[in-house]
Symmetry: C2
Subunit: 329 residues, 2 copies
């Protein structure tokens, strides 16, 4: 039988290894790397090459109200069931760099340089991992923004407030643009997080980008093979995408769910960051029923890296089945 | 509602992108990378640093009798349920490089240079990915072999039959060593695959390594923190490991199961490569019941990269819950 209690065996380890090693010249022990592999991953959708390029992950003590309509205890139980610590939350960020053959398209830009410094490198890794993937930000033709939260837009600017993708056209959802740039909406927004979001979007898009953006509409291709689809609720203009080439396609969900072990498993749970919880839930159920019915691959901005998988029904909710990593493309 | 049928939208994509791009100097389209990210991944077990270093994956048409006691149709159904092609099989290979702080230990060596050439790089990637991880084979102190199948031992030698890890002691399971080196066992082995295995092991261990190996026993630490445990059935001396440091540990299963969607899900299925199918099954059930009871992390040589996860019960079988990738170590 398998032995995992090893206290009784303490001290035994040196015996087998000793004889042969004595014949080998002593070498200094190799130091541990203390560094993760560059976190990027490539796959094909037909002729299109997708690179999932991690922006890192944010780990923080589980807040009392991460989920508006579930107790901290229930959320802890869901995390523990998924073999995760029950008192902490880790959220991953997965921007994309898509080579359509003619255009190099980035979708969402991560937490940006400020968060990178504040987190001591835990997040804001997008530029570093792009470089590891051999992608020069100057070569990016189009940056597509799914919605106007900081983890999606802050990477548009460098640490000294220059354009992080200097040659790229920046495409934004027309409805999202109208909402966050509206002074009336800003004046009516509650103090705290919502006011901070308005201010951050003015910082990024007015001070930083000088409003040089191209608003896009839902139901149209906004880059070769990239169809924008309305998935509102998380924000007023929240957008997902269908990327397709030939008969192959993937649904790029953006933030239709946050962490799959909480919100794919429990589609009725409302994330505190969802601006309209009820609308976000109805969007989520429609999208996930469609993903199940069509057996469609899904790429999730907040899924664990590389954030690609399929969805199956699981009781009253759903389950993410991660796609197997292919060591070749 | 979400639109995934996009035929009606053909030709619409250029509209939004056209205006701003006309102001930007024309640049040549960036070529696709056509190359996967280096497939290695690091994690900590207490103070010990583990690097999962992929040897690649082998994809082949589903054989009639991959599973001895299930039909090709049943196997295809299981693959399809897991969102994999029902007519193909992909097997991944995940050797390890473990830095204990004092010793650099490799567990299993992959398919080796011959298979690398024959597969045009699909397998035999271990040396390339070790290099990408910054690991010099000359720095490896110990190579541990779990069992004597080609995908575990062939990477012991270079293309010109030199030692791939020239300064390492090679540790082999005593029972496995005795079995494959026994002339009587070889003479009694059936022609075909079993004879080929005997011949391959003579090639690697006699011609190549000149029998310079150190046999090890089960129930003992064979390197700092690395306990060898008997898990026979797949081969007569098949070995797994418990790697531990402080209160943290991981079960390194080797080939207790092959692909999780077939053999974790269906522990009663007998892989054609299992030498003693009944014994392999009873070992598998004991190990997986233990992994569930102890909520013990498991590293599987044939799981999809990075091949780390936990096990939960799923009906009459089990389910692998992959560990989330951490973009920092």
């Amino acid at each position: 039988m398998v032995v995992t209690r090893r206290d009784a065996l303490a001290g035994a380890f040196a015996i087998a290894a000793a004889p042969a090693l004595s014949a080998v010249p002593a070498r200094a022990a190799v130091p541990p790397a203390n560094k993760q592999a560059p976190s990027f991953y490539r796959y094909k959708v037909g002729d299109i090459e997708v690179a999932v390029v991690s922006d890192g992950a944010n780990t923080f003590p589980l807040p009392d109200k991460l989920v508006v309509n579930a107790t901290k205890e229930q959320v802890g139980d869901a995390l523990q069931k998924a073999f995760l610590p029950r008192d902490k939350m880790t959220i991953h960020f997965a921007p994309l760099a898509i080579n359509t053959g003619g255009k190099l398209v980035v979708i969402d830009t991560g937490n940006g340089p400020g968060a990178n410094a504040a987190s001591k490198g835990a997040v804001g890794q997008f530029q570093t991992n792009l470089k590891a993937a051999g992608i020069d930000p100057k070569d990016v033709d189009i940056v597509v923004i799914s919605h106007f939260h900081g983890d999606h837009v802050n990477g548009l600017l460098t640490a000294d407030n220059q354009l992080a993708f200097p040659n790229a056209e920046v495409l934004v959802p027309a409805t999202e643009w109208k909402y966050w740039m509206d002074d009336g909406e800003m004046s009516r927004a509650p103090a705290g997080r919502m006011q901070d979001l308005f201010k951050n979007n003015r910082r990024v898009f007015e001070a930083g980008l000088q409003k040089k953006v191209t608003p896009y509409e839902w139901g149209k291709d906004i880059a070769p093979g990239l169809l924008a689809v309305e998935t509102i609720g998380h924000t007023p203009g929240h957008t997902s995408y269908v990327l397709s080439s030939g008969s192959d396609k993937v649904f790029i969900q953006s933030d239709v769910t946050n962490h799959p072990d909480l919100f794919v498993k429990n589609p009725g749970w409302h994330l505190g960051f969802d601006q309209d919880g009820d609308k976000a839930e109805s969007t989520r159920r429609k999208v996930y029923d469609m993903l199940v019915a069509e057996r469609l691959k899904v790429q999730g901005f907040h899924y664990p890296f590389p954030a690609l998988g399929n969805i199956e029904k699981d009781g009253a909710g759903y389950r993410l089945v991660p796609a197997p990593w292919s060591p070749v493309i």
